[in-house]
Subunit: 337 residues, 2 copies
DNA sequence: CATACGCTTTGGATCGTTCCAATTCCAGTC
DNA sequence: GACTGGAATTGGAACGATCCAAAGCGTATG
């Protein structure tokens, strides 16, 4: 088993000093082109691979960004993570993605592991729950840390927060359903007590209040399964309800499947709007109306804000809300449309 | 801006030498419990964080595994990656996940980046296409590399391969559809010419040949959108077809949505079986029959094989096929069932 | 009281890179 | 031919951990 070649081996092979090799590696323009060529040839010949650990030891590490996601199985978050990775890759930054699986303890472990591995910044969509000291540990490192999509720590001066303007989206959805003739709009999904549930309900609630309409809300896990179950509940216990805003598209798709199973397909007699506008929303039957969050664009903005912070030292504003857009499709417009 | 504390600072604070601190970090049992306590207290007080780069420099790096996935947006692969990460985390290994986005060049860059960051092993579900020298580069490093789910490099002695026994699954699905009374079974989805498409078709083809039945196959991207389009094609051009085996569940769900849109819901007059048994299969309407690949179990097995290789030096067998299971649901049994 | 023996602890060398100050090189000038 | 100045190159120190051989310490043994 031969050991991995180092810049010393490259230097010997190319007949220069290790310092010169280092300069070539850093793309310095003060080495003569011929020397550079020779060094590069030597590297190729002996199969040299850069040892970033050694480099990071000497100079403050740059170039590795940690992305920690509460639930990577949710396509919305997957899309965010992969878009962010691509945006950062375009700028020459490597990314490590990890999945906390909604487990605050695992999340704390992963944060520790990322810091140990020398990430120079962190983007985190936190898991809810008791995370003793995770954010204190982060604060102590002084690393740039961005909270996105969810907020665990209120110190947004330390950990700036960015998300979407869900409240306005929710209001848009409610107005749209009223325009389509709905009179009894339920809210379905979302765990009670969470900030994001409050936000996604707030616009709906205000519109209903303004119109003097009654509020029906069913809370639960944000899954397809809960959506199906909610369909049964609505049909049995709230027959007057003729439309629903769902916490997210997964719930909405489950709800539509539930109505289909009961022989009452969604579209004309019952209208549905979801949240997130995942890819599948445009491909379901009927096509699902949804409050569209441009997650890829959001990921690009996040990358830009993070880089401005890392490179220019320009601290982002503590709280940012990206605008959302209502995409009306057959599930709220009716199947003839 | 204060610099990050080192073991020297901890040592000074605890009144011991740096070597002792190092022993504590490594959990050596030859330090006196009281000394350990003192060191741990000192670490907590000054907020010490371990610098893994420095450690890896001295001792051959252990504990970081790279996971490179061709398409992380596909829930099947997301499930694999996250399950693998959790299985490895349970053994104390950190994992970095990256998404090659079906781009061989990006894949080559990511492989390079992972090696630079000192991963001690790699699990890769490769993107198809020209990847000049990516695997040669890997071979030179001598790292343990496992190919999973897809095979790019035929040198399975160097890069052992593991996947599912799709051929048998495909045969099971075809037999099942015949048992349900179908006579004209189409195969839908999968890009032509790819090994995985051949595998997932082969069992179907053999069964049809044995029964002397005609083969209809529609190839295309493995997406919902293609499934919907395929539904139209089948209805228009192949009205005799009364069942379909789909390349994966996404295509099957799209196909079902397409039939629903055409007013011909799947279940009794037309039967469908998919591949992968993703979570959504059990939650669609009608529920989707699927060739179930126990991806979480597969991920656990992969972790075990990888660790045996890394730790014991026990090279895995070059090719492994995990068994699959047909899960029959309403989409093939009929909606009354 | 000297010796031996575990159990703990320790100083120095080391890993592969970058940074810095110093040196060499080379053409141009007086 | 000596001197100058900028460009190119170089050797040594440094980064923060681990590893190793050796030393310290307290107790049991002869």
């Amino acid at each position: 088993m031969k050991r991995r070649p180092t810049i010393m081996d490259v230097a010997a092979r190319a007949g220069v000093s290790k310092s010169t090799v280092s300069l070539v590696l850093q793309g310095s323009k003060q080495v003569r082109p011929e020397t550079r060529k020779a060094v590069e040839a030597a590297m190729a010949e002996i199969g040299y691979v850069y040892n970033r650990a050694a480099a990071n030891l000497r100079s403050a590490s740059v170039g590795l960004v940690g992305v920690l996601i509460n639930d990577l199985r949710n396509p919305f978050f997957t899309e965010f993570a992969t878009s962010l990775q691509m945006a950062l890759a375009a700028e020459g930054y490597a990314t490590v993605i990890a999945n906390a699986d909604e487990d605050p303890e695992l999340q704390a472990k992963l944060v520790g592991s990322m810091i140990e591995h020398g990430v120079s910044a962190l983007v985190i969509s936190p898991a809810y729950g008791e995370a003793p000291g995770t954010f204190d540990q982060l604060a102590r490192t002084g690393l740039p840390v961005l909270q996105v999509l969810r907020k665990m720590d209120e110190r947004t001066d330390l950990f700036p927060f960015a998300s979407f303007d869900y409240a306005t989206g929710s209001a848009k959805a409610a107005r749209h359903l009223l325009d389509q003739g709905a009179r009894h709009i339920a809210f379905v999904g979302g765990l009670p007590g969470r900030a994001i549930t409050r936000e996604r309900k707030s616009g709906w609630r205000e519109v209903l209040k303004a119109e003097g309409l009654e509020e029906v809300a069913l809370h639960g896990k944000s899954s397809r399964a809960f959506g199906m179950q909610a369909a049964e509940t609505l049909i049995a216990d709230h027959p007057e309800v003729d439309a629903a805003i769902c916490f997210n598209d997964l719930v909405a798709l489950g709800l539509m499947a539930g109505f289909a199973r009961a022989g009452r397909p969604v579209g004309d007699a019952f209208r549905v709007v979801g949240f997130d506008d995942i890819e599948e929303a445009a491909q379901s039957w009927p096509q699902l109306s949804s409050v569209s969050c441009d997650i890829a664009g959001f990921a690009r903005d996040t990358a830009a804000r993070l880089l401005a912070w890392m490179v220019e030292g320009e601290r982002p504003e503590p709280e940012l809300r990206s605008p959302v857009r209502l995409v009306a499709r057959a599930s709220s417009l009716g199947t003839d449309a």
